[in-house]
Amino acid sequence: MVEEKMKVPFDVEQIRKQFPTLSQQVYGKNLVYLDNGATSQKPQVVIDAIAKYYSEDNSNIHRGVHHLSQVATEQYENARATIQRYINAPLLEEVLFTAGTTAGINMIAFSFGETLKEGDEIIISAMEHHSNIVPWQMLCERKKCVLKVIPINQKGELKMDVFESFLSEKTKLVSVTHISNTLGTINPIKEIIDQSHQAGAKVIVDGAQSIQHMKIDVQELDCDFFIFSGHKVFGPTGVGVVYGKKEMLDILPPYQGGGDMIAKVTFEKTTYNVLPHKFEAGTPNISGGICLGTAFEFLAEQDLDAIAKHEHHLAKFAEEEIVKIEGARIIGTAQNKTSVVSFVIDGLHPFDIGTLLDKQGVAVRTGHHCTQPLMDFFEIPGTIRASFAFYNTMEEVEIFIKALKRSVEMLR
């Protein structure tokens, strides 16, 4: 069913040209942007699409009879279809626009939560982002459910045997990240989904860190929900997607009430609109949705296998060079890893290193990366994290390593 489009052969220099933010200087140095885990830069086609929307097509959608409203509605729905094709969702109405991963998880936590009762169990993992922890804690408090946390080993891999032992008829939901934003671990998500299903539980995959790095096929995964943010996948901020199986979305109650999500409103009783509108109350981020579609059109043309190889190469080289620094330790050494390199250096504070790297033009993230329980597990206050994207080059990794060595020398 997936259309085979012509792929552009991977050429990092050609790619870089399409990302205008990358060719700038900060503090008089060429910017080396290695904070892609936090957010990605945007290709010119997405930037142009944003400008085009606001200069030519701006209108509210699903409402007006007039020309512009129809143009905007059509573009918005086309974007939904582009995303549907990209993730291979069976049905268009299974692709819901939200504000981002956080908004998506909260939505499902609320709606799914309405179907739960006291004593029901929800499983997450020790490497979750706060946005896949706190909504479940809130739900557990509200519904008196039990939250179980899959532990990890020192390499940052899930203890799958413990996970299996958690599964029972009480397990209603398993919500796990596909890839850890802090460790780079790629979790055995297919195994988790299949085992959960055998136990009768539904599965949410937090795809915030995987959608930009690998081909996602929700039918192959067979997950019940797949959630991601637009801004990490070369799209705009303030928009994201919840893919949900229709059979689930049909039975879950709506999250927010308002315009668009209704079929008929009277003061006695309101009936809800059909999917996807049932979960899309109010005027959405129209430009965001349309331009996220543009980002996926852009991505669909890329050679994802070549990109994965390139990113892996960058991360591996960075790791090899980092461990040569005295006292350096990689946090997250899973067998199966994406292009995220988190590390600490004995006796040095990540904040100091991040500040000095910044002044040398290198953008990394330092701190707990919204995964405080993970920091507690490794008994560290935070890490320095370099996260690579397909537009990063080996030369940039070299600049980063040189800047890192200089920072360490200054601090010692």
């Binding site: 504070h349 990540p350 904040f351 000095l356 002044k359 330092t366 206050p381 935070g382 200054m410 601090l411």
Partner: protein, 136 residues
Amino acid sequence: MTLEEKQIEIVEEFEVFDDWMDKYEYIIELGKELPIISEENKTEDKLIEGCQSRVWLHYEVKDGKMQFSADSDAIITKGIIGLLIRVMNNESPETIATANLHFIADIGLQEHLSPTRANGLASMVQRLKMSALKAI
């Protein structure tokens, strides 16, 4: 030296640096040199929790002048604290409470005092001023 004179002195010290890294080299040296708080004063109530680095602030009033000591687990933060304390120490609570700490911006380190910077320094300055108000 008045508080204002101390500020001007620091600004002049920093004028020799035209490179960011030299500036930070100097701040780091300041951070390394300053044993600025005794361990028994590094207690929970003196801790200012930034999102990334942590800051401890202790103060005493002696003969109507304030004496500060402080520390941080991040050395750059510590260096900047060293500068702040150099300006604020031995001043009256009134002077501190109303001080306009322009030197930080003058030497290009304003970003470190931004409340979003997550290093605890903005809260530390606030607490410095609060302690001065209390001592008036």
